[in-house]
């Protein structure tokens, strides 16, 4: 009995707009009309500026821990752009750009990191799940959301975002397995940004690509340049069609880079070389998009200045709305625990104490 090869695998890498501004007309044809490209560039720029301001807010004590999105704007934005408005976006915490495109107000994101639950009160019309802090857990929810759509015979799909580190978690593997084996319309978008806090990608995945993790579960995979909004849009568009028309999942590895620290509580200089960061700064999704726009004569420094002025006003207004919001009620700690509060919990709320004997000590609400 001869030994024979039974499986050969290939993984495609898609690049349409490279870091030098070279653009593949053929692959990019019909993907993003010029007018939309301008809007997408503006969206990335405004997200980037908010990121800078959020960092400063944290440093000046006006906000808690904040995870910068810098450098990863193209991935989630491309998905939000390509998907239908009622497709689920199931994100973690580095997808601000896609959420803003979807209509989530900037002040929601700010409020969340300012320690206010109202920031995570995602209105249903955005079809975006709340920011998921525990790593690699939300992909299962995407599988469930997609399953519900399939159950109802609807065409809505779910698109979930997570990092390379998240693919080490068991929940990721369970989500991929469920989606593939139950034929669920899910698009898995792995933002491979090379770092899980201080732990490099090679500790998470020894294979040459993260994408091949999807192959193991029997789903189509593709790797794209995650800083190339065209490549991201291209892949999500194909995956969304497969999900919508065939109810099949796809795994997309979006190769990008976390230009900032993990969060404001982190200092990446402790564990990675600045030379590596500098290389990736050149691959910034904003830079190459602007290069293309300028080549197409859709953009110039005057437009940049005008946009920057407008963005600064918009972000300042969002910051003001986040900071000037009326303080949350202390009763809010209790009132969202259940649809109907129990008598005991209501008593805790109304007395703000947990001991049983009557107490003369007045209860005062505390600031932070």
């Amino acid at each position: 009995m001869p030994i024979k090869s039974i499986l050969k695998l290939e993984i495609e890498h898609v690049s349409i707009l490279d870091e030098h501004g070279n653009y593949d007309e053929k692959l990019g044809a019909g993907l993003i009309p010029d007018a939309d490209l301008v809007k997408l560039y503006e969206a990335m720029s405004s997200c980037r500026y908010l990121d800078e301001i959020a960092f400063k807010l944290q440093r000046s004590g006006r906000m808690g821990t904040y995870p910068q999105n810098m450098g990863q704007e193209a991935t989630s934005l491309a998905a939000a752009y390509v998907l239908n408005k009622d497709d689920w976006l199931v994100t973690c915490y580095r997808e601000n750009c896609g959420l803003f495109w979807r209509g989530v107000p900037m002040e929601s994101i700010l409020l969340h990191w300012m320690g206010d639950e109202r920031g995570n009160a995602m209105p249903r019309e955005h079809f975006a799940t709340p920011i998921a802090v525990p790593i690699g857990t939300q992909m299962l929810h995407a599988a469930g959301l997609a399953w519900a759509s399939k159950y109802r015979g609807e065409k809505q799909i779910a698109c979930t975002f997570f990092g390379d580190g998240a693919t080490s978690e068991g929940d990721f593997h369970e989500a991929a397995n469920f989606a593939a084996n139950l034929d669920l319309p899910v698009v898995f978008c792995c933002q491979n940004n090379f770092w899980a806090i201080s732990v490099p990608g090679k500790i998470q995945c020894s294979a040459p690509t993260v994408a091949q993790r999807g192959i193991a579960y029997g789903m189509p995979v593709v790797q794209v340049d995650g800083n190339d909004i065209f490549a991201c849009a291209y892949a999500v568009k194909q995956a969304a069609a497969r999900a919508r028309d065939e109810s099949r999942p796809t795994f997309i590895e979006m190769v990008t880079y976390r230009l900032g620290d993990h969060t404001t509580a982190d200092d990446a200089r402790r564990y990675r070389d600045q030379a590596e960061v500098d290389v990736w700064k050149e691959r910034d999704p904003l830079l190459r998009t602007r290069m293309l726009l300028e080549r197409k004569r859709l953009w110039d420094s005057t437009k940049q200045e005008t946009m920057q002025a407008r963005i600064e006003i918009e972000v300042a207004a969002a910051v003001a709305r986040a900071e000037e919001i009326v303080a949350p009620q202390v009763s809010d700690v209790f009132n969202y625990t259940f649809a109907e509060i129990s008598a005991d919990l209501a008593h805790q709320r109304d007395t703000m104490q947990t001991h049983s004997l009557a107490s003369d000590t007045p209860v005062a609400a505390k600031g932070h």
């Binding site: 969340h112 320690g115 732990v199 703000m352 104490q353 947990t354 001991h355 009557a358 003369d360 932070h368």
Partner: protein
């Protein structure tokens, strides 16, 4: 003697045990080159190398599950789970295996590991970075649960935990990681697991607490005109029942303070033990000052959630005037 904070005391304990015992190794997310997100393992990667201070894949179940294997093979792993709220994925490995292995194998197989976990609120952290899940693991038979409130105790307790033949969850109250310093001997010493500490003696009422809340209890007691005894349990399971009994029989009144939610919290166990052991000595019902039975709020409201000196004083006064 060195003047150390909690982080430094734990760091020193880790260094000394790793130097003493080749079987001890650290593993977890960011514990290596980065020295841990709270810098508890600062310098250890450099000192002991990547073989003994291991940055793992981002997988809590994997960290604990492989630690169980390492421990079953006779090593002394010290896995770190980065935050209290991230224990979830590791729950199955901790409770279904680490806690049960000795019983399951009639002692043929044991799991001597020490799981380090920063715990509790009050540091303006995001969601799931401020929880107090000690009750869950105290309720699981087969686990020892420790939570120091001082640098001195932290060093001595951690060394005991590492040398313990059974799995220990070592909760580190992150709110007081750098809150204060105290004299911590360089020389080897241990503090036995299962022994409480009388922080201050008193005759009118006993306050029982653990972890960072001990500091709020001290603040409250300092303001009190009455003679209040404070017991820091230090080990939540197994609980020092003799210390509780001795104190409450003396004072006749007791307030238990913890940051975790009230219902089914370890304060309930303390109260039940007191009722069973000290019933005829009690002058007032045991009072609990705890977190509320809610999800730990985001940081804007977290100070409203956590027991503070005012709430503790309210309970002390109410119990004293009963």
């Amino acid at each position: 003697m060195a003047n150390l904070n909690l982080v430094q005391a734990i760091n020193l304990a880790l260094i000394q045990e790793m130097e003493r015992d080749e079987r001890v190794l650290l593993l977890g997310e960011d514990v290596g080159i980065n020295g841990g997100v709270f810098r508890v393992t600062e310098g250890l990667h450099k000192r002991f190398g990547a073989r003994r201070v291991v940055d793992t894949p981002l997988a809590e179940s994997g960290i604990i599950g492989t630690s169980i294997g390492l421990a079953m093979a006779g090593l002394r792993p010290i896995p770190e789970i980065q935050f209290d709220g991230f224990l979830g994925p590791a729950y199955d490995q901790i409770c279904s295996h680490a806690a049960r292995m000795r019983t399951r194998t009639r002692g043929a197989c044991t799991v001597p590991l020490t799981i380090r976990v920063p715990v509790g609120g009050g540091i303006h952290a995001p969601e799931l970075h401020s929880d107090s899940p000690e009750t869950i693991y105290s309720h699981q038979p087969g686990l020892k649960v420790v939570m120091p409130s001082s640098p001195y105790d932290a060093k001595g307790l951690l060394i005991s935990a590492i040398r313990d033949p059974d799995p220990v969850i070592f909760f580190e109250p992150k709110r007081i990681y750098r809150a204060y310093r105290e004299e911590v001997p360089e020389d080897e010493y241990t503090i036995p697991i299962g022994k409480a500490r009388v922080v201050c003696e008193g005759t009118d009422l006993t306050v029982i607490s653990w972890g960072a809340s001990v500091l709020q209890c001290m603040e409250s007691i300092e303001k009190s005109s009455r003679s209040v005894e404070l017991i820091d349990l230090r080990t939540i399971y197994p609980m020092d029942l003799d210390a509780i009994e001795t104190s409450v029989k003396k004072t006749g009144r007791c307030v238990v303070v913890h940051e975790a939610p009230r219902t089914g919290g370890m304060g309930a166990e303390v109260a039940a033990q007191i009722m069973e052991r000290c019933f005829l000595y009690l002058e007032a019902p045991v009072q609990r000052v705890t977190g509320f039975d809610t999800i730990m709020p985001y940081y804007k409201l977290e100070l409203n959630y956590m027991p503070d000196a005012a709430r503790i004083s309210g309970a002390i006064d109410a119990a004293l005037s009963y």
